[in-house]
């Protein structure tokens, strides 16, 4: 199958374009969606015209409007420019989109909205209002699906599936991933929501991670290999539903579990994974679970200081080595 190299941003765009061509009910809504700060939707207004709609600075409003449009036959893809801004949209997403179908008794009530959460993660001094990783907040809500791709291939396959899903899906994007390049097939493909992937096989320790931190973990794994530790790296891809089977199978093999994420530790994704393994796979472990996560800190708005509060490659190497 022929493939081309493209960036993560281009891969999402290609996924959006293919789906918009296939289904005219799909509309794009977001602040500055026509020109787009993340470049993801750039050019789609020229191609699809009125189906690409600039939104006012009104995250709660347009996230809710998407629910109304979805209930009545449209399939909106909403961009929320920064993860931090989901706090404004939280009621529309977590109280309305997530619950609407159930509280209306199911049937014809369905909310096929994709919320693309742009520019998560800390970099360049984005700080505490433009640099948080808040995906763990939304895994707490039944009714939602939460996904976070780490490669162009996964991003394209998952955005297409998210758009075809009849449930509200949060599709997280990380600001440092947009420029990451990878091979993407020319032929159409879809990836299932809820399936993790082993991005590196190993026998000594399982590291469950996702998003930009995955790339750090892969580099840490190469360093660990020099010291004879072969890490198995799981890219979760989907945070809700969580692919428990993939995690448990890996821990069964390695007997050690480390989780790594950029969000804060308490109540984080790693906490959930550790709990799942404690409940369903404690007998496989021969060492305590280690969680690598963002510090219990406000992210400083400083390009010098912000890296101190999120996990670095050296932190991952050091933490894993503590298990041996």
């Amino acid at each position: 199958m022929a493939s081309r190299e493209m960036t993560y941003a281009e891969a999402i765009r290609e996924g959006l374009r293919e789906e918009m061509k296939r289904d005219e009910r799909i509309i794009l809504m977001g602040e500055d969606i026509k020109i787009n700060v993340w470049t993801v939707t750039r050019g789609l207004f020229e191609e699809f015209g009125d189906r690409v709609i600039n939104m006012p600075l009104s995250e709660s409003g347009f996230s809710g409007a998407a629910v109304g449009a979805a209930l009545t036959g449209m399939r909106p893809v909403v961009e929320i420019m920064y993860s931090d801004f989901t706090m404004y949209a939280a009621d529309s997403i977590a109280n309305q989109a997530a619950k609407y179908r159930y509280m209306c008794g199911g049937g014809e009530f369905r909310v096929p909205v994709v919320y693309r959460i742009g520019g998560s993660g800390s970099s360049g001094g984005a700080g505490c209002h433009h640099g948080q990783s808040l995906e763990a907040t939304f895994i707490h809500f039944p009714g939602l699906k939460v996904i976070f791709a780490s490669t162009p291939y996964d991003a394209k396959g998952l955005i297409k599936t998210a758009i075809r899903d009849d449930n509200p899906v949060l599709f997280y994007e990380h600001k440092l991933l947009y420029g990451v390049k990878g091979m993407v097939p020319e032929e159409e493909y879809l990836l299932p929501i809820g399936k993790a992937e082993v991005k590196r096989e190993g026998k000594d320790v399982t590291i469950a991670t996702y998003a930009w931190t995955l790339h750090k973990v892969l580099k840490a794994a190469e360093e660990l290999a020099k010291d004879g530790i072969e890490a198995e790296v799981i890219d979760l891809r989907s945070l809700r539903p969580l692919d428990k089977e993939c995690i448990l199978n890996s821990v069964k093999k390695t007997s050690k579990l480390v989780t790594a994420e950029e969000g804060t530790k308490m109540g984080g994704v790693g906490a959930e994974i550790a709990a799942v393994v404690a409940e369903e796979g404690l007998q496989y472990l021969d060492a305590p679970v280690k969680r690598i996560a963002g510090a219990e800190m406000i992210i400083p708005s400083s390009s010098y200081a912000d890296q101190m509060v999120i996990p670095q490659i050296a932190d991952i190497v050091k933490t894993v080595k503590e298990l041996f």
Binding site: G64, A65, T72, Q96, C104, G105, G106, F109
Partner: protein
């Protein structure tokens, strides 16, 4: 009012009576110990019923928390409505929605429990209508309390920018829970705020069903013809407390005399007198409507009480579309 046909006037009267008796029935059940979250519409029947009478069956409503007038006005059978309030499987949401009354076939698009959450949702329904070119309209009801939510600002701005076929109807009954809106709301006429969204702001006497109908009909026509949203403020009053559990509404946060003054303006009695004066119906004919409505609610109670609860399996269904 010469332009309102007899059939419509009688429909409005019949539905207002049905709503009054439904409300009474729920109050009676609550008083006897049945657990229902009830925000009484006694004294506010004219707004939702008359506005819904100006809609086509294919038009949408975004309901709000106070009462069930939008449900009865949009054609929901009180049996189904009451069953839902009791959590029975015969309810419109299978007994899982409770107060979150919804029915896709009647285009009642779900009643959120979070105040004003549905204002942007309604704007989105309007956007969808424009995309689908179906020439429908959506009525969005809310109260004066919710008018201070940021979502009202955001939703009305969106509807206006999109010139969406939305009619916003704010029932101003002067109180949000136990708080008079003079303490919380910057304007006495909430319709003044419409100007800020570039849409007409219309004030109607919310206890005059005919006036409400005429204002709603004009706004709906305006929306349907592509001229965008209208904001209607319906000035009215709730005779009972915020909920059936409100023990403070007589003499604590409002004077008993104030309630008595508003009781004199009862919208149902007022419409009844008008219909007799206009010779739309005789007293005997209206009495017959009243009696039918009373019986209907007795039957609804029996039906709802006799209906089964959903099974555990049914309760756990419908979180996701499979």
């Amino acid at each position: 009012m010469a332009t309102i046909d007899k059939e419509t006037l009688l429909k409005i009267y019949r539905n207002m009576v049905r709503l009054r008796f439904f409300d009474d029935k729920v109050n009676e059940m609550v008083a006897s110990g049945v657990r229902i979250t009830q925000h009484s519409t006694h004294g506010q029947e004219a707004t939702t019923i008359a506005a819904c009478a100006a809609l086509k069956p294919t038009d949408y409503v975004m309901p709000y928390h106070r009462g069930w007038g939008w449900a009865i006005g949009k054609g929901m059978d009180p049996k189904i409505l009451l069953s839902e309030l009791l959590g029975k499987t015969t309810g419109c949401c299978g007994g899982k929605g409770g107060v979150h009354i919804a029915d896709c076939s009647l285009r009642i698009m779900g009643r959120p429990g979070v105040q004003a959450a549905h204002i942007p949702i309604g704007a989105g329904v309007g956007l969808s209508i424009k995309f689908r070119k179906t020439n429908e309209v959506v009525l969005v009801f809310f109260g004066d309390g919710a008018s201070n939510e940021g979502n009202v600002h955001e939703g009305m701005n969106l509807a206006s920018v999109w010139k969406a076929p939305v009619v916003f109807i704010c029932e101003n009954n002067l109180y949000a829970l136990f708080t008079p809106n003079i303490e919380t709301t910057s304007v006495r006429d909430i319709a003044d705020r419409a100007q800020g969204y570039g849409m007409p702001g219309v004030i109607v006497d919310g206890n005059d069903a005919i006036g409400v109908y005429e204002a709603a009909r004009e706004a709906i026509q305006r929306a349907r013809s592509g001229q965008g949203p209208t904001f209607i403020e319906s000035k009215t009053y709730r005779i009972h407390g915020h909920t059936a559990m409100d023990r403070f509404h007589l003499g604590v946060y409002r004077a008993k005399e104030e309630v008595e003054e508003w009781e004199k303006k009862d919208p149902l009695r007022r419409l009844r007198q008008r219909l007799i004066e206009m010779k739309v119906a005789s007293e005997a004919e209206l009495n017959k409507i009243d009696e039918q409505a009373r019986l209907e609610m007795e039957e609804a109670e029996k039906f709802a009480k006799d209906s089964p609860y959903p099974t555990r399996e049914e309760i756990f269904q419908d979180v996701y579309v499979d």
